[in-house]
């Protein structure tokens, strides 16, 4: 026997390393480092500045240099004066318009816009420009993308399989629209965290909850669903903590927070809110137009259907009037039936079993509707007793899978599209209740009314579990499979029987409503169904209204004119206008709430004490809404959302204005934009931060108003030129002695090049697109399971934010420029500077195409001289005219290129590609491609100054 068996090393100190553990304890004892645990958290963490109420200081009355009396400027001026540093002058107008255009809409200003602004002598020229840009539909794209970083938005599931997520882009559209409509930030918060819980929630409010549906989904084989559900809930808690509170709550997942005022218990109080929001699907209108068009068409169609239905019901009434006559004919037919004709007898089960949580609800027609939990696979074990096996015995089974409005896509299966796979049917019978494999009834053949390609009826009785019977694409209608026994099953007296419906395909391909019947007899019958036979054989005087209707239905189905009307009606119904809705993935409150427990060390297999919803003790009071349905659970996501945007909450507005500030200055007033905790940096301008936070609330959480407030300040409008004399005193510009320069984000790098060259599509919103991708990238995804079908036409030139984002294999143009991988929430992008970036903007097909188009644009100018063209190129890219040394350098490049291509026309044509302008030689056009390509790589173009 082997000895010493254990799963893993069970020495906890080993993970920390014993010597280090001992050292840590020694240091803690000496008071040098905090020891882990609630009691030992720094005692001042509750007094930490970020948890304190907003400080309502009046802006100081300090005037420095060119600064105005704008409140922002007064706070900044006070700091500058105390450091004895003068602010920088206002940037020139062409820099200001470029800066504002990059910051507010992420596109370069056109030369005409620059000229108009530079020459606008009105005192409110700048303000008009700001207002114009804030009203642009591209504002929602620019600031929506900032939000999508936080929302970890992507178009695929993540993890190994990383399947595409249909319609994920609807959430992106929601964000763009909300920001363009300037949805107040408190409402923006509430709808995304708890839109489904709002009274009378609209489809768009439900769609907003897709914010927390951006978590990853692991469909790798053999995963524990609960493990990854818990991982997704953790992510929701951590993301919420990071975005609204600026706190690294994730640290308290496994233990009390080492540094910040948060216990593990408090973490799981937050967790409780999200633990009862489940992943769900909902329908949203494809568009407003589609919806109203649908309403009109539906009305017309419904009228036609009603007319036909009334015609048919008139015919039915006529048949009812002469029912006796038809019944007599049926009796005559029945009398001629052979004794051993095939007949089917629906079974009422004594017991139905499946995996935990699955329920079977018996329906009036003898079928069973499957409800409750919806596991990936199913094994329905059905017990019953029957006398029907008496000689001549049972000859088979019929299994009907029935449509039902309560099932997805009307069934018959439980998976989203309504399919199922019946992998195996097993049939047992004996005289005693104990059934085992010795009582298995051998089955011979199986026939179905319809079977999907490669999923034939016979596969439901073969020994293989990876084959089976399925019915795609015929969903939403009843089907049946007839199975015969190898020989008649004969058991005299009451037989105990069991039918097992094994459904092992996975991903919820299980049957949603079914009826099982025993088959007796073997001679083909006349097709008269069992229930009709039973009614006819029964006592006519005791016939119920329902039985009469069943009989009448049967008579009608055999009536020629009624059948024709039915056929017509079916055909008409097929022409019903298509639904104006589409399915999107969202979060919805769970019907029967889960009891949340603290998970010991964050391990989903180790539940501890129960907890109910709650927030952080160190913060303002958490209150349940009066009419909330979940008082017992300590509230729900809506209560949490209200708490987050409660004016008494100082964190949410501080964190939110800091995010905005960061996008307008390159750094936050709190430089650690993702950490407002004890370990984060203190604000460089605490009073300004608080003033802005209070102002944000006063402005009714208007994002646009807040942005306008900031960009109207002289602080924002300062020149971004570095001041070497301050390199030592303020190397990181914490005093805000100037604006900052920083390279634009990955998507914007693309947008700028396409825009300057005139290629960019200005279409806002819609499904993701597939711009050219180098070969061999898509195949890096798992088992080569992903194909990239490059978009054509306008979609080839959409803004970078619309590029399909596959989590395990994102477009390299995005990743190369520090685009976050969207697996976790991102609050601040890196800005690095690498040779791969240079190679991308020099040689990548998108940028080469932009160079070609820009060259064509320049060469097609009316004025046929280099200086004019160079000027226009600079106007398009850097919003200014070139300096003499720049003209000289570019002229030299043009000359070198011209002389190279003069004798190499083939190379010239290659370089010009599909963008050969009229009236010039390929060599001339190629020389301009060389020059245009350099313009698109200028630091000034790629940098927000």
């Amino acid at each position: 026997m082997w000895s010493g068996f254990r799963l893993v090393s069970a020495r906890p100190w080993r993970r920390l390393g014993r010597p280090h553990a001992l050292l840590m304890i020694a240091l803690a004892a000496a008071g040098w480092i905090p020891l882990v645990g609630a009691e030992s958290r720094p005692s001042d963490s509750a007094e930490h500045w970020a948890y304190q109420s907003l400080h309502s200081a009046e802006p100081p009355t300090v005037q420095v240099g060119p600064f105005s009396d704008h409140p922002v400027d007064r706070f900044v001026a006070a700091r500058l004066r105390s450091a004895d540093v003068a602010p920088s002058p206002r940037a020139p107008r062409h820099v200001l318009i470029k800066r504002l255009s990059y910051d507010l809409i992420g596109l370069p200003p056109t030369p005409a816009e620059v000229e108009a602004f530079v020459n606008d002598k009105s005192p409110d020229a700048y303000e008009k420009l700001v207002d114009r840009l804030l009203a642009s539909p591209h504002f929602g794209e620019r600031w929506g993308r900032h939000w999508l970083d936080k929302a970890r938005y992507a178009d695929s599931d993540g993890y190994e399989k990383d399947r595409p997520r249909a319609n994920a882009w609807r959430y992106r559209d929601w964000v763009i629209a909300a920001i363009n409509n300037d949805m107040p930030f408190d409402q923006f918060t509430i709808e995304q965290l708890a839109g489904d819980l709002l009274p009378g929630a609209t489809p768009m409010q439900r769609l907003a909850t897709a914010f927390h549906r951006q978590t990853l989904t692991n469909t790798e084989g053999g995963t524990d669903k609960e493990e990854f559900r818990v991982a997704a809930v953790f992510d929701r808690v951590n993301t919420t903590g990071a975005i609204w509170m600026g706190l690294t709550v994730a640290c308290a997942q496994c233990h009390d927070h080492k540094y910040d005022a948060m216990s593990q218990r408090e973490y799981f109080q937050l967790y409780a809110f999200f633990n009862n929001g489940d992943e769900a699907n909902t329908s949203v209108p494809k568009s407003v137009a589609a919806q109203s068009q649908y309403a009109t068409l539906k009305k017309q169609h419904d009228a036609k259907v009603a007319a036909l239905e009334s015609k048919r019901s008139a015919r039915r009434n006529a048949l009812l009037a002469e029912l006796d006559k038809h019944e007599a004919a049926l009796r005559a037919q029945l009398a001629k039936r052979p004794a051993n004709a095939v007949a089917f007898h629906p079974i009422t089960f004594d017991k139905l079993e499946a995996s935990e949580g699955v329920r079977f609800d018996r329906q009036d027609d003898g079928s069973y509707l499957v409800t409750g939990s919806n596991p990936a696979k199913g094994q329905y074990t059905l017990w019953f007793k029957s006398d029907l096996a008496a000689s001549p015995g049972v000859t088979g089974l019929r299994i009907e899978t029935l449509a039902d409005k309560r099932l997805p896509s009307n069934g018959p299966g439980r998976v989203q599209h309504g399919n199922f796979v019946l992998s195996d049917v097993r049939f047992y019978a004996a005289t005693t209740p104990k059934l085992d494999k010795n009582h298995r009834v051998a089955l011979k053949s199986a026939k179905a009314d319809f079977a999907q390609d490669n999923w034939p009826a016979a596969a439901a009785i073969d020994p293989k579990l990876d084959t089976g019977w399925a019915v795609g694409p015929q969903f939403g209608k009843p089907h049946h499979i007839d199975i015969t026994t190898t020989k008649p099953l004969i058991i005299n007296g009451t037989a105990h029987m069991q039918v097992v419906l094994d459904q092992q395909y996975g991903s919820q391909h299980t049957i949603g409503r079914f009826r099982v019947s025993l088959r007796t007899g073997s001679e083909p019958n006349d097709g008269m169904p069992g229930p009709i036979v039973n009614i006819l054989k029964g006592d006519a005087t005791k016939r119920t209204a329902k039985q009469r209707d069943t009989l009448l239905d049967y008579v009608a189905s055999r009536d020629k004119s009624y059948a024709e009307l039915s056929k017509e009606l079916d055909a008409l119904k097929k022409q019903a206008p298509a639904s104006p809705n589409m399915t999107v993935r969202v979060i919805a409150q769970r019907g029967s709430p889960r009891q949340t427990r603290v998970l010991i060390r964050g391990d989903f297999l180790r539940p501890g004490d129960p907890v109910t919803g709650g927030t952080l003790n160190v913060m303002h009071k958490f209150e349940l809404r009066a009419d909330g349905p979940t008082v017992k659970l300590g509230g729900d996501r809506l209560d949490l959302a209200h708490w987050l945007v409660d004016p008494a909450n100082p964190l949410t507005p501080r964190v939110a204005v800091n995010h905005v500030w960061k996008h307008l200055f390159g750094h936050g007033l709190v430089r650690t934009v993702d950490d407002f905790g004890v370990r984060g940096e203190k604000p460089t301008h605490p009073q300004l931060l608080d003033w802005l936070a209070a102002e944000f609330i006063r402005l009714k959480w208007s994002r646009k108003a807040l942005i306008k407030t900031i960009v109207m300040s002289q602080t924002y409008q300062q020149s971004s030129k570095h001041r070497p004399e301050l390199a030592e005193r303020d190397p990181e510009n914490r005093l805000l002695h100037r604006q900052n320069r920083f390279r634009v984000e990955a998507e914007i790098v693309r947008d700028l090049a396409l825009s300057a060259s005139g290629l960019l599509s200005d279409k806002v919103g819609g499904p993701s697109v597939y711009p050219p991708l180098p070969a061999g990238i898509a195949s890096l995804s798992y088992a080569n399971n992903f194909k990239w079908n490059t978009s054509k036409g306008e979609d080839r030139f959409r803004r970078g934010m619309y590029t399909f984002f596959k989590r395990t294999s994102p477009h390299p143009n995005l990743l190369t420029f520090d685009c976050p991988d969207s697996n976790t929430s991102n609050l601040t992008r890196n800005i690095s500077n690498t040779p791969l970036m240079a190679l991308t903007t020099l040689n990548n097909i998108t940028f080469v195409e932009a160079s070609q188009a820009l060259a064509k644009r320049l060469v097609s100018r009316a004025a046929n001289n280099d200086v004019d063209r160079l000027q226009h190129g600079f106007n398009l890219t850097v919003a200014r005219d070139p300096a003499p040394h720049e003209v000289e350098s570019f002229s030299k490049l043009l000359e070198t290129s011209r002389s190279w291509y003069a004798t190499r026309s083939d190379d010239a044509k290659k370089l010009v590609g599909g963008y050969q302008p009229e009236g010039v030689s390929p060599a001339e056009a190629a020389a301009w491609v060389v020059a245009a390509r350099v313009m698109l790589n200028m630091d000034e173009f790629l940098t927000r100054e």
């Binding site: 082997w2 893993v8 090393s9 993970r15 280090h20 993890y159 190994e160 990383d162 692991n218 084989g221 053999g222 524990d224 640290c251 650690t672 004890v678 370990r679 570095h722 001041r723 390199a727 190397p731 180098p774 070969a775 061999g776 890096l780 798992y782 088992a783 395990t808 294999s809 990743l815 520090d818 991988d821 697996n823 976790t824 890196n830 800005i831 690095s832 500077n833 690498t834 040779p835 791969l836 240079a838 190679l839 991308t840 020099l842 040689n843 160079s851 040394h885 350098s889 570019f890 030299k892 070198t896 083939d906 190379d907 010239a908 290659k910 370089l911 491609v929 790589n937 630091d939 000034e940």
Partner: protein
């Protein structure tokens, strides 16, 4: 044969490099910046030094950095066998398991474990169909599937008692690359270039080479997480241009690339003179490095200078074997893997810090008797050749070669159908697995750790992935507790909250 264009590019690159170094002190006048401004009377000498420091750090984030203590290794070739190869069939012989082939495990052992696909109630132990033999002076026992690796047994350190917490592939692969089965974290190569910088002037510091099918983790296996993208692995590709976007647009010769970059530099330097932002200098440097890479990368992948016997020893021209290999095969996998091993040596020679060779997939849930020989045959010869080649060149001491994976495979046979029968595959097994290392200051001919009689749990000297990482960093002169990066308030490290250096491994 090198093309005319290639030669022209090389000539130009050499010229630029000279000019670059001679005319502007370090890089593009960065050290010169402070001095120039001082000369202009704009700065005090002290302030000038501060400006220089800012400029230098902004210019090259990959500049070599000092280590915590004296390093043994300078570069690492990590051979990542994605999908979890069976330790029981390759590195960890279990005669007792073979004896118990077809027997069930006691129920008590199965109660607390879970599997991806095994139906535990009916699962049976499954011995290895492969023979093991002793190799080298140390008598290291290895499977008949890896005879070439056997021939370098005295140079390798075989670790048999690794374990992980991650049970599924993608999280498991992240665990091995990042020290924790979570997203958003830097990978090993990122940490190394972050801690050490890069020795290469013309190539990225962290390179990735792939063979076979796409792995479960895809590009997340060489992500830089919260570190800047300069620390992300750069994928060298088997087809087309070796690095994405390396080739100039069609019709644009190196001469005009150079001329264009000269103009770009003029303009950018003009901007720099005006706005004095060191980031501009950094951008100029990045464009120059890109230009040098345009020469260096094609030269790197051009194997024409390698002698024939060496190409043969790696098996660069080996044909694909006949027979099965579905899980580890995509295209000419044998050639591609061998070539990647040889490329790894050439990269390390040229100063690349970390080469990650990814080969997928070893996820043998079925058909081990056919599929495992295919995969093992693919990697055995080239890896042994790489170790010998490095040793012969005197590079093995400073180059750490690591053969690793995300977890092991079950001693139980996989019975996905639920039948009580021995199968042909094995399920996921994070409780014990094997890896091996060579060079980099590790002992050769040593077997470390011991699993129990059936290869299930670790009996002696268990090693967590965090311990492995801690020890690897140690060989690079880095203390894993001190190599940290503050992100969202926490000082992250490659070893998460664990890690203990295994001093017994060190030569």
């Amino acid at each position: 044969m090198r093309s005319r264009q290639q030669e022209a590019t090389e000539r130009l690159a050499a010229h630029t490099r000279r000019e670059f170094l001679n005319t502007s002190a370090s890089g593009l006048g960065l050290a010169g910046l402070g001095a120039a401004l001082t000369a202009d009377g704009l700065l005090s000498p002290r302030t000038a030094r501060a400006a220089d420091a800012i400029a230098a750090s902004a210019t090259n984030p990959l500049a070599p950095k000092p280590t915590h203590f004296s390093p043994k290794a300078k570069s690492c070739i990590f051979i990542f066998m994605a999908g979890a190869p069976s330790h029981i069939d390759l590195f960890d012989p279990k005669p007792e398991l073979n004896k118990r082939h077809g027997q069930p495990l006691p129920k008590s052992m199965l109660d607390k474990v879970r599997f991806a696909f095994i139906k535990k109630d009916n699962a049976l132990l499954q011995g290895s169909p492969f023979k093991f033999a002793k190799h080298g002076q140390s008598g290291m026992e290895l499977s008949e599937l890896v005879p070439h690796i056997g021939s370098v047994a005295d140079d390798i350190l075989l670790v048999r008692g690794l374990h992980s917490e991650q049970f599924n592939h993608h999280p498991g692969q992240l665990m091995m690359q990042c020290g924790r089965g979570a997203f958003g974290l830097p990978t090993m190569g990122s940490w190394l270039t972050y801690g050490l910088g890069s020795e290469s002037q013309n190539l990225p510091g962290y390179v990735v080479l792939t063979s076979g099918r796409g792995s479960s983790g895809g590009a997340t296996l060489w992500q830089s997480g919260f570190l800047p993208s300069v620390h992300a692995g750069v994928l060298f590709r088997g087809q087309g241009e070796p690095v994405l976007n390396l080739k100039n647009p069609a019709g644009l010769p190196p001469e005009l690339q150079r001329a264009g970059l000269d103009t770009l530099r003029d303009v950018n330097q003009g901007r720099y003179a005006e706005v004095r932002d060191p980031e501009i200098a950094s951008r100029i440097a990045a464009y120059e490095l890109a230009f040098r890479m345009q020469t260096a990368a094609p030269e790197l992948i051009d194997l024409s200078s390698e002698p024939k016997h060496l190409l043969e020893s790696y098996g660069v021209e080996r044909p694909e074997p006949k027979g099965k290999g579905g899980r580890g095969k995509q295209g000419d996998t044998y050639k591609s893997f061998a070539r990647n091993c040889l490329l790894a040596r050439r990269m390390v020679e040229r100063g690349v810090r970390f080469v990650n060779i990814v080969y997928a997939s070893w996820d043998h849930h079925s058909n081990i008797p056919n599929e495992l020989p295919y995969n093992a045959g693919c990697v055995d010869q080239p890896i042994a050749a790489l170790i010998k080649d490095l040793k012969q060149r005197g590079m093995l001491d400073e180059t750490m070669v690591v053969w690793g994976t995300e977890f092991g495979r079950t001693p139980l046979g996989e019975n996905r159908s639920g039948k009580r029968e021995v199968g042909t595959g094995r399920d996921h097994h994070p409780f014990s697995f094997s890896m091996f290392m060579a060079g980099g200051g590790f002992k050769g001919g040593m077997t470390w750790g011991k699993t129990d009689d059936i290869g299930w749990g670790v009996e002696e000297n268990d090693v967590h992935i965090n311990d492995l990482h801690a020890t690897m960093l140690h060989q690079f002169g880095l203390d894993h507790l001190r190599l940290t990066h503050r992100f969202q308030g926490r000082d992250f490290r490659l070893t998460d909250v664990g890690g203990e250096v295994v001093y017994e491994w060190l030569a």
